[in-house]
């Protein structure tokens, strides 16, 4: 299993006991979400909707690339990768 660093946005830090960065082992983003849930119960329902899809306003980046340009939830994670979870509502012309 690849060990990766996950950067947590402010909106989720209550669930991670205030931590802005956590280490998780996972091969894909889908697995990462499951393993995050084991460590921080309650985080999964924040990230995915009732159908299991990543929520419309949650963006995942692997090494600074949006996973929608990669393989989405199936995007593979390499040892040492940095995964950032970022609210979609940031942008804007801005």
């Amino acid at each position: 299993m690849a060990k990766v660093t996950v950067r947590i946005p402010t909106a989720l830090r209550r669930v991670t006991q205030g931590q802005g960065e956590v280490q998780i082992e996972a091969e894909t983003i889908a697995e990462l979400i499951e393993n995050l849930e084991k460590e921080f119960p309650g985080i999964k329902e924040r990230l995915v909707d009732e159908t299991g899809e990543i929520r419309k306003f949650v963006n995942f980046f692997v090494n600074d690339e949006d996973i929608r340009f990669l393989q989405g939830k199936e995007t593979k994670l390499e040892e040492g990768a940095v995964v950032a979870i970022i609210p979609a509502i940031a942008g804007g012309a801005k």
């Binding site: 950067r7 924040r46 609210p87």
Partner: protein
Amino acid sequence: MAKIKALKCKECGREYPVEPLHVCEFCFGPLEVEYDYDEIKKNISRDKIKKGPVSLWRYVDLLPVENPTVGLNAGFTPLVKAENLGKELGLNNLYIKDDSVNHPTLSFKDRVVAVALSKAKEFGFDTAACASTGNLANSVSALAASAGMNCYVFIPSNLETNKIIGSLVFNPVVVAVDGNYDDVNRLSSEVANEFGWAFVNINLRPFYSEGSKTLAFEVAEQLGWKTPDAVVAPLASGSLYTKIWKGFNEFKKVGILEENEKMPRMYGAQALGCSPIYKAFKEGRDWITPEKPDTIAKSIAIGNPADGPYAVKVTRESNGDMEVATNEEIIEGIKLLARTEGIFTETAGGTTIAVLKKFAEKGVFDKDEVVVAYITGNGYKTMEVLEGHLNKPIHIKPTLAEFKEKVVGQTINK
């Protein structure tokens, strides 16, 4: 505080206190200011508005600010009856809302920044910041300078020279990021997590975005307290467009417009090289597939637009439509507006005019309908795109003979 009740998640409806927050902790949806419209209705009137300042602050009853202190001259820009352009397009009642002359930095961004930084002052921030495609950085830099705030602006490193100089002159820290706007935005979002700054379009976004409603309020007032039949406006993140729609609807809700006043059809303009909202609308999706922008319209080159889903919804709800413009059409749009109305807009405005023209040619407007095109930025900031697309000056020696030979001979038809 009576006019604002709370911040409310647009997706799940959870409420939050009025603080510098922008994301719902539960579903990550955007937060929006929730007003007490009954209270506002008691306070607001056409008369009171008319007696107010000649700026966007005449609508303060519908803005999330108690005490305006920044950007006191922003807004109340001309609504120009476009007779010449109207004639070319077969429209008898075409108007240009001309924010290319907004104060102080010549784009509609002065509206949103006036609201955001006035709010930032109320919250007690001492540092202003933003992620920008250029115009926003200009506006934040200028208004932070006037407000005595520290300032950091984040931009893509490949912006037009004049947009970069137009920030630097106000002496902010300009962070030029190797990457496109979406990279700048992601980075800024992470910076906003770590530093307690007023990022106008990130942690202050619920307040910032409300400033664009004044583009609707002004047009309604300038048309004699009426709505247009149709509106054409550009989309980057989709915020401006969504808030123009909200503004017309709010004006009716609080009784400034007649109860039976019809809401306009909303027509959105994107550049072909960056059109994720247009594509979602055309394909009937309500989610956005992000793209990597490739267009000369850098000010509206956002591949991952935060308010995209809402812009799609507004277009459907209002019975409107969306169109795209190629680089060539954008340049032709800039030249068409300049040649017919004497207004010099930037690439975003060129996109809007190109799309206005397409819709006019398709016949979506009745010839007597009131159509308003929103010109949101100024052409002096993106002059390099016109290189090679304009006539050259005629060079002569200072003699009457040369003038007659080279100028009269070539330009006056005898």
